[in-house]
Amino acid sequence: MSLSPDEVRHVARLARLALTDEEVTDLAPQLSAILGYAEQVSEVAADDVTPTVHPLAPSDVTRPDEPRPSLSRDDVLAGAPQVEQDRFAVPRIVAEEG
């Protein structure tokens, strides 16, 4: 597996990471080497094997659907970079109509 600089830029967009040209240049061979190393897993024949995500608990866990105390709004908003009207404030998400 070898990643081109354009493929690195595509992955960076998916990951929401603004990379510099220098970072793209550095990462392309590094990611290719790491993925090349990790690809050894494909040598193992495992078509009939179930994947493991938890060694002990195979099923989902639920709790009774009952109200219970949670963090206060002030506590939750205290760490936010920008707050307006008791809400998280962000830059424009939807483009203005032309």
């Binding site: 990951a15 990379l19 970072e23 990611l31 094997v49 760490g79 970079p81």
Partner: protein
């Protein structure tokens, strides 16, 4: 009387219980030790670390923030309650250092990242709660590789931590600060987290006992997630008994963590002193030989002779898929990291870099907040999970996980516990492996299989060996003991028997050791 900072947690708790010393005296002695050796600005209620450029080359830099005011207040409260006749817990008044990845209400939690610089969590992690409820006194938060990604603590955004045995070498990672604090006698106990070896490898490199419990037995609530299917918190200590005492406090079911297992693991202390006579100890064929330093190999061989002398039988066992452990780990961990770290988007907490649109703000914030290794892993994981690659990477790696778990089950038919060197090398020099990510990843080759299988594993000091690059040095070598799922008790029993016979004193020595430990 030995300095309070040289005592084990068990010794401290006995003296506290008999009223020979107060919790306040114990806490002050450790705060003094931190002020003298760590490179913090010892002033006010919260001591901050110096900027990385101002740290001296003889300063350990184990801590990122020392909550001195809160620790003293907690100690005074414990002393008052003890004086009033209140029955207190086994480790009440014993100080502890907490890895800066477990949330602490009212005290900073940075995960070693600029992304969370200055963030103060609104709640305590379950582990933090359990420690406070047991009156263990939290001294502060320790340095780490950013978001726990690394094997040397050189990926911290706030400067390197130095190995108390040789201040020009790394303490291992990612829990390097928690390891260094205990090895430098700044705290008798600490908590780290282990995803692929991040407790065991630093324990090995700093001459400590370090434990990764059975996956799911210690709550992950409030442990800032790196790779959710692997992350576990666990103890560092200077003795096996201290480590067992501390793990016993935090190993319990938590309904607020959906991966927490309901099973109650066996009592860790009831059979601690039963010895190894009659036990079968399995040596893993695949976890030795090529890639392991000669000094590490020789020390490991000597541990096997000791076990035989103690009445155990040594058997050779195979984990045929272990060689695929590291490649599988370096797909699974980055994949889960890329998903977990998506939450750092400049909206709800931490850093924000302003930009005209939300997407540009997200991307600029993440570019400024994350360091190079975190970016590398997010990129690997995002690629591995992207359309068309999931089956070949994450799914295939998760199947390899199943095969490794099967290998362990088969090996535990032939042996009661498995052993290997913890790390292929002794502590290496600062800056010597940072240029080559794969060389750094190879540190985890012996620890990753137990992580993937979920089995409990610990590292304890096996002896000292020479570093290949520095003839005449004597640096700690770790012995890894692995046990079947939920049999954490058995690995402590084996480790205790070895420790008692070996008589290893976990006190740093050498020309570049941290000052004032002898």
């Amino acid at each position: 009387m030995a300095a309070l900072t040289a005592l084990t947690a068990t010794e401290l708790s006995e003296r506290l219980g008999r009223g020979e010393v107060s919790a306040r005296e114990v806490v002050d002695a450790h705060l003094d030790r931190i002020a003298a050796t760590d490179g913090v600005v010892a002033d006010g209620a919260v001591w901050a670390t110096k900027p990385a450029g101002d740290l001296g080359d003889d300063e350990v830099h184990a801590f990122l923030h020392v909550t001195a005011g809160a620790a003293r207040a907690h100690a005074d409260d414990i002393d008052a309650r003890r004086a009033a006749g209140e029955q207190l817990g086994a480790l009440a008044g014993v100080p502890l250092a907490l890895k800066d990845i477990l949330t602490t209400r009212g005290a900073p939690t940075t995960c070693g990242s600029r992304m969370l610089e200055g963030w103060v969590p609104p709640y305590d992690a379950t582990v933090t709660e359990l420690l406070r409820d047991a009156d263990v006194v939290v001294l502060g938060k320790t340095n780490m590789d950013e978001f726990a990604m690394g094997s040397s603590t050189e990926n911290s955004a706030f400067g390197d931590t130095r190995n108390p045995w040789d201040l020009d070498r790394v303490p291992g990672g990612s829990s390097g600060g928690s390891a260094a604090a205990v090895a430098a006698l700044q705290a008798p106990l600490s908590i780290g987290t282990d995803t692929g070896g991040s407790i065991r490898q630093p324990a090995a490199l700093t001459g400590l006992v370090g434990v990764k419990p059975t996956y799911g037995t210690v709550s992950r609530r409030g442990l800032v997630a790196f790779a959710s299917s692997l992350d576990q918190a666990g103890p560092f200590a200077r003795t096996v008994e201290d480590a067992a005492q501390l793990l016993a406090l935090i190993q319990r079911h938590d309904p607020r963590d959906s991966t927490s297992v309901p099973d109650t693991p066996p009592d860790l202390l009831a059979h601690l002193r039963d010895g190894v006579d009659g036990l079968r100890i399995g040596v893993v064929t695949e976890l030795q030989g090529e890639g392991y330093e000669p000094g590490v190999e020789a020390t490991f061989r000597a541990t096997l002779e000791r076990f035989e002398r103690l009445g155990a039988t040594i058997v050779e066992v195979s984990l045929p898929h272990a060689p695929y452990g590291l490649p599988a780990y370096y797909l699974i961990a980055p994949s889960e990291c890329s998903s977990n770290l998506a939450r750092f988007d400049g909206v709800r907490y931490g850093l924000r870099v302003d930009a005209p649109t939300a997407e540009e703000m997200n991307a600029a914030t993440r570019a400024a907040g994350f360091g190079p290794e975190v970016k590398r892993r997010i990129m690997i994981g995002t690629h591995a999970l992207s359309s068309g690659y999931y089956d070949a990477y994450y799914l295939q790696a998760s199947k390899v996980r199943t095969l490794i778990a099967r290998d362990f089950r088969a090996a535990f038919e032939q042996a009661d516990v498995l052993v290997s060197p913890t790390s292929p090398s002794v502590a290496f020099g600062l800056g010597t492996k940072t240029a080559d990510p794969i060389a750094m990843y190879l540190n985890d080759v012996a620890t990753v299989p137990a992580s993937l299988a979920g089995t409990p594993a610990l590292s304890l000091p096996a002896g000292l060996a020479e570093a290949p690059d520095a003839p005449g040095t004597a640096l700690p070598v770790g012995l890894q003991v692995m046990a079947p799922l939920l049999r954490d008790d058995l690995m402590f029993r084996v480790a205790w028997a070895f420790e008692q016979d070996r008589g290893f004193a976990a006190i740093p020595t050498g020309p570049r050791a941290v000052e004032g430990v002898a």
